[in-house]
Subunit: 450 residues, 3 copies
């Protein structure tokens, strides 16, 4: 509600004393407050609800990543991939609570202004918080904000786990996850979303094509380089050995779950749902998000058919995801046609760049770097196509700094882990499979023929 | 809120001038508007939110159909079935945006009044739309409506893909999907939901037992007839060869996802949630929808045990789905007992008619025609049992016209596709499997013994 | 909104007559009512919406249980496990409608005050209910409450099916489910949530660590004892034979779905979302629930690595679930750190007690008794750590009575079923597998090597 529409009630409060009605004037003020409070409450409730809905939708993306990755690894590593995904999400939650959230949202309480946020664990509003005690009555409850943002943080770790699958050691990987989700990602994200220096610079990334997806892909690239490729992936004669995923229906389910969760990822990033304008914007975002995924999937279907004569299911899955990543930086301002196009270009990028990584002998098991990194860059640049507030220079600076910092910081952590405890499963154990060697169990004990 | 309760404020606006308070009178009018606006905004927000929640729930049904179908085909065709499902959903979104939505909801802008809607792509409200610029302030944002209706449109294509699985060619099928979701379904649906001639006639189909499910089943029947049965399904001696689904747990998951999404499918079709009456109605619909599914599953469990001595999991799954389809035409007016009964009869219909199709040598891989078609007819007729506004004649006319049009139009498209490019995979390739032949990959490369 | 803030409007109603404006005074009363009504409506709508969202989230837990259990049984019993899960959920809905709901919520209409609720089927509010006809305008629509509570009831049956998997006969099991969900659980739950004697005693169990999870585990324990262990599980020489789950990725998916649904399970149990305090509380609950699951998973990962040298995926899955069960009795009052700790202790309990059951030769296929029973007891006791209203004595009395009654009543039903029709599949059929013997189909006809 436009609160200025309540001015007449305020006028009445002024008028009544001149009629000799002092008490009534006071009461008119209270009436004014009552209507305003009702409005304020509803906005707060709707905003918080948006975060809660967004929270559970984006939570489910953890399951989506897990199914996608578990379906795309060989069956001898599938239980380990599932273990990593459950553990990384669990650790991300704890790390984000202990230090990440306040590092990301310093709310003025910076250690280094605009660059390094505050260091303290998350504290929520008290039980049964009153109208006057709420941390930010114009916004939403801290708990709803925390749960929503936590899911974004965890997504960066999920992206990494796919790229370094089938050969990274479990515990070093999990230590990396803790540092990534507790420190590296929150610091980087604070630059834009915590009102840090990138925000001041005018860098725009609505729901995180770069801030989340590019960040995850950068950390994944560092990991893939340090951990090295899977045993047998690249022959000495330069041949690339295909290692097909063991359960494509499961991977397809994972993609659908991610698409499902992305409505919360992008829609929730409107951050408000208590006015007509906000709910209509969330609706726009839903529609654009869906069409970008459509565009990405269809483009990947066509491109893979043209390039390889036959359509490729994993390319279609990654195409849809690339479409989603591409629209994430600006899911609001494009029209439906432009959203479809932005997604389609994302899909094409993925089909063209996945083989490229193999040529550079960078072993990215699920295609996470092209999907979240290359399409993320594209999406971040594409903001300038539809949002007049965006400048190419700010977008470029943001991309370079985000990808650069995430890659460099991750590289350092991976290198330390490699030096201290080793990060790579031995070739022999890779041949046997991580499930048997490191878990002592099999994902599908009755099925596998290998 | 009943707006007439605000009349006293209006009275004050009239009264004040007589007290010589002209300006105050004007301000009272504004105050009146402020409260009204708050109410209007909340209704708009809640209605839009219902569509958004319904939207992501019904979206997930695309995953449900995909898992159900992928689990019920043989493993050699599972990757292709997944590919078809991802591609069909993606194309449906684009086709519905480019032409479908405005064809379905002409809002008075008909090409042929009541029969053929407007032809133009969807345009959403502008970013940050104001109270006065909104397209229909009494209803909901266009974007939320679009995303909700798009999911229904895509469902019709998902239904078809199950029936013609394991032998239809990918690209002809996808072309059919584009025509179905862009043109055929929207035209048909406009007759009832776009305020076309069936609506004027008094035909009632709340969430689409006929308009969506029957429509999909009719298109599926046309496809199954033109594409023909799977190689080896029907022996020349009249024997029906069972081709069991390769992954029944996955099919079960698909059924559960569909049930989950159906809360949005039926609940969202209340189209409003901003008043006590509306939210209580949505609640009724949730409860009735759930019990109809229960009734369908239990009835199918009992019937299959009686008929075949042993319960049949795929019958139970299809029974639950048939229960859901049956209640879809009227999930609001029945009491809980009647809802259970309507669903149970749907479940029985499916158990009885699935073998019937086989006798007619119509090869419907997942039972889509009985589940969505026969139970859809039953559900559409059952409206007269609980809704006094329904007439048997209007329901019958609607069923005949919807099924007839959908079947005939689909048949023409399938015949053209058959003539131009062929729609059926060769028998040899069917023996090898569509995954290897047409995708060059396998769904489960390490598991399959066949 | 604090309604006392509307007092000035009431004052105006009193004031106006003294100005000789009788009619205007009456109208001021109506204006007062209008604003109050708007507020009342919004609270009713938001509360009902919370139940509806909670309802579909907790519904999906039925799919989660199904996938978890189907993934943890051997493939020869997987289709049967899926069948049981679909059928139990369907029957639970019908039983809860026919008698359970009113037995659980007598609303003063007790057969035996505080101990045995009313006996009648559920009747919802009429279609298009008005403000004045609503059953409880301060609360939510009956339908939304019914659908939410139904899902809790069904969860108890899902817990049982996991424990007695792979050897219980289908139809005796389903009869047990009907009695459990229609009668035993509702009576027990009425003691606390239906304002029965445990509620008066001060027993606190926010979302059902004992009332739902402990109840299910108690029924499961009775079942496991009467049905006996799986053929070959315990050798005569005391050796425990490991029978590994056939599809761990599917089990992992099941865990993720359960975690997803738990946001509704605990969040919805706030029972209200129409004020700032309530929505902030729901947010706290989301955050605490998530961190308890994190704590449980991480603790189980570490504990299983310490105890068995290698981490164990099924322990990690059960650890997350134990964390969720542990926080369920009080997800609101703990801070985030305490929530993590409560969940972690739940995870440790599960790792320590799962082998214990095997030592006692109690065959619990999926670990349901430790996860839902032992962690449930811990969670119920842990309420006293953070909620000053809880007393250890009331919690202990509640636990003893709930577990005791649920176990005893279930035992009686299982014993009757055993005497009348037998509850255990023959050893020969267990060797062949329940799928082939009792369903005549296979879950994975093309995969299994056994």
């Amino acid at each position: 509600m436009q609160l200025k529409r309540l001015l007449p009630l305020a006028a009445a409060a002024v008028l009544l004393p001149s009629l000799g009605l002092a008490q009534e004037a006071e009461e008119a003020v209270d009436a004014l407050e009552a209507i305003t409070a009702l409005n304020t409450e509803m906005v707060f409730i709707m905003n918080s609800l948006l975060f809660l809905i967004g929270g559970f939708l984006v939570f489910f993306m953890a399951a989506g990543f897990c199914m996608l990755e578990t379906g795309l690894v060989r069956s001898k590593n599938a239980a380990m991939q599932a273990t990593k995904n459950v553990a990384l999400f669990s650790l991300a939650g704890i790390a984000y609570f202990v230090v990440g959230f306040n590092l990301m949202y310093p709310l003025g309480d910076w250690v280094i202004e605009g660059w390094l946020g505050g260091i303290s664990p998350t504290v929520l509003e008290p039980v049964g918080v009153g109208l006057d005690e709420v941390d930010d009555i114009e916004y939403a409850s801290i708990g709803s904000d925390f749960i929503f943002q936590l899911m974004f943080c965890a997504a960066t770790a999920s992206i990494v786990s796919g790229a370094v699958a089938e050969r990274v050691k479990l515990f070093p990987f999990l230590i990396f996850v803790v540092v990534l989700t507790g420190i590296i990602y929150p610091i980087q994200a604070s630059w834009s979303w915590g009102e840090g220096f990138l925000d001041e610079l005018g860098f725009l990334d609505f729901a995180g094509s770069s801030i989340v997806h590019g960040a995850g892909a950068s950390a994944a690239l560092a990991g893939a380089l340090i951990v090295g490729s899977r045993y047998g992936k690249y022959s000495k004669d330069g041949k690339v050995n295909v290692m097909p995923g063991s359960n494509l229906p499961l991977a397809t389910l994972g993609m659908f779950i991610l698409w499902f969760g992305w409505f919360g990822f992008n829609g929730g990033s409107q951050l408000a749902m208590g006015t007509i304008a906000d709910v209509a914007d969330v609706s726009r975002i839903f529609a654009n998000t869906n069409l970008a995924a459509s565009g990405g999937a269809v483009a990947a279907l066509i491109m893979s058919t043209i390039l390889y004569k036959k359509p490729d299911l994993t390319m279609v899955l990654n195409g849809a995801l690339a479409g989603l990543v591409s629209i994430t930086a600006e899911p609001l301002t494009p029209g439906l046609g432009m959203a479809t196009l932005i997604g389609a270009i994302g899909g094409i990028i993925v089909v063209l760049t996945i083989p490229l990584l193999d040529k550079m002998k960078i072993d990215d098991v699920v295609g996470a770097i092209p999907v979240h990194g290359f399409a993320g860059i594209w999406g971040t640049l594409a903001v300038v196509l539809t949002n007049p507030d965006a400048t190419l220079s700010a977008q470029l600076i943001g991309i370079v700094l985000i990808f650069g910092f995430m890659f460099a910081a991750s590289l350092v952590v991976w290198l330390i882990l490699k030096a201290v405890m080793g990060v790579r499963v031995s070739d022999e154990d890779q041949v046997t499979g991580l499930d048997k060697c490191d878990l002592g169990m099999e994902a599908y004990p009755e099925f596998s023929n290998t």
